[in-house]
Amino acid sequence: MTALRNRGIRPALLVGFLFLIALAVAGCSSSKSQSFQFDANIFLQDLNPTSQGVLGALYVTIVISVIAQALGVALGVLAALGKMAHIAPFRVTANVYIWIFRGTPLLVQLAFLYYGVGAAHLWGWDPITINGFLIPGAIQAAMVILGVNEGAYMAEIIRAGIMAVDPGQTEAAKSLGMTYRLTMTRIVLPQAARVIIPPLGNEFNNMLKTTSLIFVLGVVETYNHYVIVQVNNFRPFEAYAACALWFLLLTTIWGFIQSRIEKRFARGTATGSSAIPGASWRARLFGNAATSSGLGGH
């Protein structure tokens, strides 16, 4: 059954992509507007990964997404534990953080924390060098702000994951003399991970697309690359179509990776009845509610 499905993946996708391109071409050539002609050559040139800057821009998108997501998970764990803490100041801090970052637009957060805070001389976002790599301030700001924003959303996902773990597990750990820290890292979080991983994958899918907003910081990631392309060649239709296709490719590849991770994870934990079966790649790509797990999505 799964073997058949796997064999079907690549042809299905190929057909999908060809269909999209054909649709674009057909839609334009049969357009009533005489003034516009779709230029397949320009489109293919824009799409060509060997043309100047495309791979670099994709690399920036991927690296920033991964780092921001990792930061988001770390902050999400802290915020989730903070929300559940017995000590009131921890709870208040976590709640205020979540309230602010979920309650304001990401675009405003980016502009305020980069330009606003920079102008107020509160934080300069100066370039730093790590292992000989120069990291410009705008890229640092992009990773940090996307990560902090993501942490506010991950907090709720992680909290739900922790709450899904049987309280008897915590009691057993405590009765063996484990501290809060050991109980969390060794017993509770590894079990919560099973519940957290499917929605975490969905968050990363969002993150890949959301990075396009960091063009406001002047970072040349995939979207900004195509903004520049169409400024230079006056062909926005072709440029943004190419841009959309690249993002579609990224999220599609991620969909496959995600369903693999989920399957492996469900198998590795070997807790039969309580294990969450990995969603199929179909569910990941097309959001089939019947097969995706309960806690996913917002």
């Binding site: 009691e171 009765s175 934990t269 039969g272």
Partner: protein
Amino acid sequence: MTTPNVSGNLLGAIGGVPRPETDVVVDARDVNKWFGRLHVLKDVCLQVKRQETVVVIGPSGSGKTTLIRCVNHLEKIQSGRIFVNGHLIGYREAPAGGIKVPIARRRNGKAPGATKLVEDKEKNIAQQRQEIGMVFQRFNLFPHMTALENIIEAPIHVRGASHDEAVAMGRALLERVGLAAKEHVYPNQLSGGQQQRIAIARALAMKPALMLFDEPTSALDPEMIGEVLEVMKELAREGMTMIVVSHEMGFAREVANRVVMMDDGVVVEEGTPDQVFSSPTQERTKAFLSKIL
């Protein structure tokens, strides 16, 4: 079916009988506990001497679970003191009144020597719990770990034992509870009786001075009760100090030094198994026994 081979000595696997530091291992004095407005433990006193097995019986809701959970501070108490091995559990004594007494009255405030309980630091509580093993009604094995990993987890990460040392002890314990073949098996592939035997081995691996059992066989299918009771009897015979909440009369008659009857948060009666089961003095004990026999 499988008859667990527990004939070898269980405590030998952990290097002999852990020797409690005091003659009286558990000393609970006038313990009071409320859940909100519900008064669950009312001036409860309980003493357990070294190598004694005490069986606690009583109707559902009488406070048996709460009492043994207070002994390792899984529940807070509102007044009284619980000592294990001579150490006050979960709290430290602080001068009574403390910050609540206005500055002007501090000098001539409270009677000298009056103290109140302040909850101890998390780290100290964790340390105290290392000496107290607990076995739960629903086993609570860690589902993401194999049988052996469940057993060696705390010795390695809490006691700081080396991996090899912990594995050697873990294997010895698995063998003594008759589950040597299940070393690499995850809990969900084990029967209830097997899981509970591993839970006992997991608690023993910390070399506790005291073991607490909360109805360890009441979630088991009847055919599995025997194998768990066998392990517990063996433990009792070898000299482990234990408090067992259980209505298994056979077990109590065979190994209990004392039976404690609780009802409505009060210790109603206590005595040898024969006294309590055969000639109870209290009406409530008689009524309860007539229901479970």
